[in-house]
């Protein structure tokens, strides 16, 4: 019934000699929210950045294994094409400071030199901002700089910017760790709305957040994928002892 959109098989990632993601096997179903959690340095962010090939931008970073998007190997596609299909939102809100809110949303087109007719552009901007639950707040100040917004609004602007490109998958790297609780919950609520159109993979070190927002959760520890299961199952009756210790805060 549910089709797999991303599949990794025996996937490994390295920083130079350092083996940070070890033999990860995972299947991510379409239109779900997947949370990836684990203690700092467990390889969760690295794994996420491997999915859209952002990992390889770091000097000395390498990876191997199978990473498949819709039956096509991500690592045999052109990285630019991969990143158009798999959008990303980062830890700190990072709207382009030199662009207006409007231009930030269509930055993916504008800065890539893709010309859209004005009507089309307006539509993309409105639709993306509405999906990011930001339209109502900014529709009267579209031509102000994006950096005038509050942290939570900026993060939602970044989400709008990513979904304006109509990606299939949206990666979120600790998207709320720099936000206050109110902004955090507005972003979390948004994730629920977004999964009707996109597949979301969210890295978080906050396990309550993983519990709240996701359908499935993957637990990484020391570069290994320890457990990957329904979030309900994971938080009520985890299979692995390490998972249990982590979510109950008994980690030593």
């Amino acid at each position: 019934m549910e089709s797999t959109i991303i599949r990794s098989k025996n996937f490994n990632a390295y920083f130079g000699e350092n083996h940070v993601v070890k033999n990860v096997n995972i299947e991510i179903p379409k239109n779900h929210v997947i949370a990836v959690m684990g203690p700092s340095g467990c390889g969760k962010t690295t794994y996420l950045r491997c999915i859209n090939r952002m990992h390889e931008l770091i000097p000395g970073a390498t990876c191997n294994g199978e990473m498949v998007l819709n039956d096509e190997d991500v690592y045999s596609m052109h990285p630019i094409f991969v990143r158009l299909k798999i959008g990303m939102v980062f830890q700190r809100p990072n709207p382009f400071p030199n662009l207006s809110i409007y231009d930030n949303v269509i930055a993916g087109y504008k800065l890539n030199g893709i010309k859209l007719p004005k009507g089309e552009r307006d539509k993309v901007v409105e639709q993306s901002l509405s999906r990011a639950a930001l339209w109502k707040e900014v529709k009267d100040s579209l031509h102000k700089k994006g950096t005038f917004l509050s942290g939570g609004q900026q993060q939602r602007l970044c989400i709008a910017r990513a979904i304006a490109m109509e990606p299939e998958v949206l990666l979120l790297d600790e998207p709320t760790s720099a936000l206050d609780p109110i902004s955090t919950s507005s972003v979390e609520d948004l994730l629920h709305e977004l999964k009707t159109n996109y597949t979301l993979i969210i890295v978080t070190h906050n396990m309550q957040q993983a519990a709240r927002v996701s359908d499935r959760t993957a637990f990484f520890y020391m570069g290994e994928l320890v457990e990957y299961d329904d979030t309900k199952k994971m938080f009520t009756n985890p299979r692995d002892n390490r998972t249990q210790n982590y979510i109950t805060g008994r980690f030593s």
């Binding site: 979390e188 309550q208 519990a211 709240r212 938080f235 009520t236």
Partner: protein, 220 residues
């Protein structure tokens, strides 16, 4: 609407559905009692499984809400209250089933004179009332109505205490009906438990809405 609110809304609906099922169980048990309808009694016994199913489902939902959504303050009290109301309702379901079992075991129809003389009819009416009051109080978040339940429970207690004497008197006049009279006494005892469970439910409703603990306090 946050996800927690949505989930709590679902949970509330689920509890109300269970409540209605339990109420209809109790009413059907009464109908089968009055009309000596063993088929209806069997239906009540069969449907008890559904009550149990609700109980398990609500337990699991509460567990998931605790594990995934970490409710706090009024939300936390709500889930805690639901957890306890859930088991109270399940017991009322058991009571309805118990009454239905008596009807199946009874060898002849219950005499209306017996039911009236022991005030069972009146008591049954009142215990269904009391259950409906708690449901309305829960649905409308009405603590005044919930507090009214305590008074009605006292009325049930009085009938229960008086029941021994009433049965004794009835048996003096109709010694042959001893079998039936014992069933009636058991049913009265069970209905008294319905009152107690409803009282507990009311306490939980007040706890969740007002954060006041009324349990084990003698004056309300």
């Amino acid at each position: 609407m946050t996800q927690l609110e949505t989930e709590l809304g679902f949970l509330k609906n689920e509890v109300i559905n269970m409540w209605n099922l339990v109420r209809s169980q109790l009413i059907k048990a009464r109908t089968s009692l009055m009309s000596y309808d063993k088929d209806l009694a069997r239906e009540v016994i069969l449907k008890e499984r559904r009550v149990n199913g609700y109980e398990l489902k609500i337990d699991r939902d509460c567990e998931n809400i605790f594990a995934l959504l970490t409710p706090v303050a009024i939300d936390l009290r709500f889930v805690l209250a639901v957890l306890k109301i859930n088991s109270n309702l399940e017991r009322i379901g058991d009571i309805a089933e118990g009454i239905a079992k008596y009807i199946i075991s009874a060898e002849q129809p219950f005499k209306p004179e017996l039911l009236d003389a022991t005030k069972l009819t009146e008591m049954y009416e009142e215990s269904i009332n009391i259950l409906e009051d708690t449901l309305t109080a829960f649905e409308n978040e009405d603590t005044i109505l919930a507090r009214g339940v305590f008074k009605k429970d006292e009325f049930l207690d009085e009938i229960n205490i008086a029941a021994n004497n009433l049965i004794e008197e009835y048996l003096k006049q109709n010694p042959k009906d001893i079998d039936q009279a014992l069933y009636v006494l058991s049913i009265i005892r069970k209905l008294e438990r319905v009152g107690d469970q409803s009282k507990n439910i009311s306490e939980e409703i007040i706890f969740y809405l007002e954060a006041k603990v009324l349990k084990h306090k003698h004056s309300h």
